[in-house]
Symmetry: C2
Subunit: 120 residues, 2 copies
């Protein structure tokens, strides 16, 4: 009940958002939620998000991400693109470098959708 206002905010948001439960989720929203979860459901991508989140300004350069995850540069780029398309990261180029940054609230919003069931 603490979340009533948040919930409404969230409902006004882009492409999602009303509780996962109580009323059963409809097929379209399930599809949408699944797409976001799928973007996170990979160990490498979780590590990328985590590293970015722990970096200065919640932002990191591709060149700093390749070595920690131990995969090829194209593979890392691929994962970053998926995370961006799912709305978890945003990209900004500065010179030759590409910086990926956490989209504020994206993880929290997803988290709330899952939490609803648990919080009642």
């Amino acid at each position: 009940m603490l979340q009533v206002t948040d919930v409404t905010d969230v409902a006004a948001d882009a492409d999602c958002c009303t509780p996962l439960t109580r009323e059963t989720i409809d097929a379209d929203r399930a599809e949408d939620l699944a797409r976001k979860l799928k973007a996170l459901a990979d160990p490498t991508r979780l590590r990328l998000v985590s590293i970015v989140a722990a970096s200065e300004g919640e932002e990191a350069c591709v060149c700093d991400l390749i070595e920690p995850v131990g995969l090829s540069q194209p593979t890392v780029s691929h994962h970053l693109r998926i995370l961006m398309e799912a709305g978890f990261l945003s990209r900004s180029k500065r010179g030759t470098w590409a910086y990926y940054k956490l989209v504020p609230g994206a993880l929290g919003q997803l988290s709330q959708l899952l939490d609803v069931t648990a919080s009642r």
Copy 2:
């Protein structure tokens, strides 16, 4: 904050739990988290969880789940097994019927892991 006690519970729990961020997640925990997320990252399984969660006692019989999702009985059984192995549902047989029930706190725990980034 209402959930402080839950949080400690959860921290004492099986195979997970410390923030997704600040300290970067290690490969093992990423693997583990990814496995759970992957179990949820399917539209059909989200709908199954949702229907179960919205049912009396957060529990539903397989026979009641087949028609709503519109897939074959073996397919539904398969998805339920995945959700069970990931720790989101538990099964209890009563006579010929199999009842799947939400595991209390499982979704909430996952939710918290994601939320950490957002909450700081």
